[in-house]
Amino acid sequence: MLDSMRKWVSDRTGAPAVVDRLRERRIGSWSIPHYVGGVLLMLFLVEVASGILLMLPYRPDPLQAHASVVAIAGRLPYGNLVRGVHAWSSQAFVAMLFVHMALTLVMRSYKEPKELVWWTGLALLLVGVFLAFTGAILPWSQNAYLQARVSSEMVGHGPFFGQWLKRMLRGGTDLSPWSLNHAYGFHTGVLPAMTTLLFALHVAFVPRGKPVEGPSIPVYPDFFVRLAAACTAVLAAIISLATFAPIAVGTPANLVTGATTGDVRPPWYFLFLHDLLRSAPPRLLGLESPQFILGALSVLLLFAAALPLIDRRGSKITAYVGAVLVVVFLVLTGHALL
């Protein structure tokens, strides 16, 4: 019966040809970036699905946003689960983004002919971080509001486009109810669309025909099966976290009387910045320290983008520099947590 169903589908679509092509495409058997990339795609789909579900009861008005989040978590059936899945998947997504990028950097997978893959990957990193950032603002809790204020101020210190980017994020020069609407529009419309497009390009740009070094497996069925196993494990972990470690809703944002209390911290992926900002002296090289730090970060990003052009053969220095950067990131994050 399954065979006749298969025949029905294959007679009407181009499916068999696609499957055959996938059989011929090969991937390194234990190429971690590929597995992480596949899990990232699954996480993105989970985020889109849970995000659409959350869009239905959520209200993007500053006076009602927090109440709507409380209603989702406390009143809607399985609302807590949907919200937890969305929140934890986003944490996993950003973590895996960093891992994926670090690995590709250290393995020098940006070298020719994969430059386009690398560039779309960098763009995906930025879009992914922005997604996480705009999403964290939406509950409009006191913490979320403060985070929105500080992070958009930080962005404003960036070189060249800093102020422009800050106004785009805030929907104006100061943080206002428009900021919440802007964050919502970006988070649910602009950024997911960009992510989808970039994802498609990222995968499409992977060149074919080039033989894989080392042991390899075909995409279909081997890689798919292994990826499915990895995805199942990750999904199970996320659902467990969503059920047993719900993320608190916090108190509603109080713009008038809510003073910044001691322990306001950005989400973990910005902690390294937080640490730098706390320990840096007020002025560095004639610039205010936030400007300097963001300027340095931008330089790093530009450099990363330029890597395929500078380092065509993939020299080992990049691997070492990459490893050092990862260690620095971890150390700064760890220090900020303590």
Binding site: L76, L81, V82, P221
Partner: protein
């Protein structure tokens, strides 16, 4: 999958089918919370509403107030007593109104008519209007559920 030599074929097919089956089961199990999430029941809304001061509510007139999210039609008859009915027509849920001329409740959408007791007396409505309880507390006309 027919081009590969089916070595251990039965086992392979069994594995494939059981994977498909388990995946489907997992899919169905995930669909349950999604469906429940999308189809919540209404929570209990407010149970008491007030329709203003009794002195200012003239006999022979009517007001529509909201009891939570539900519109309620409050009528003060000529003899001074109060009636309150759900203002939602039992036909297709338009909001009904009191006609002072005809001394009856009328629905503008499909010309349904209800008596002053809430009985559906003419037009398409299949059932009478739900009644609510009216008290005058401290001079304020107060409506509660029956």
């Amino acid at each position: 999958m027919g081009d590969d030599a089916p070595k251990g074929g039965d086992r392979r097919d069994f594995l494939g089918t059981s994977i498909a089956g388990t995946a489907t089961a997992l899919g169905v199990m995930s669909a349950y919370p999604v469906v429940r999430f999308l189809t919540p029941r209404d929570e209990a809304s407010e149970r008491i509403a007030n329709a203003g001061e009794a002195e200012k509510f003239f006999p022979g007139t009517a007001k529509t107030v909201l009891l939570g999210d539900r519109p309620v039609l409050v009528i003060r008859l000529d003899d001074g007593t109060f009636r309150a009915f759900s203002a939602v027509c039992t036909h297709l849920q338009c909001v009904v109104a009191y006609s002072t001329q005809n001394k009856q409740i009328e629905c503008p959408c499909h010309r349904g008519v209800y008596s002053l007791e809430g009985q559906n007396i003419a037009g398409p409505p299949p059932r009478p209007l739900d009644a609510f309880v009216v008290h005058v507390l401290n001079g304020i006309v107060t409506i509660t559920e029956a």
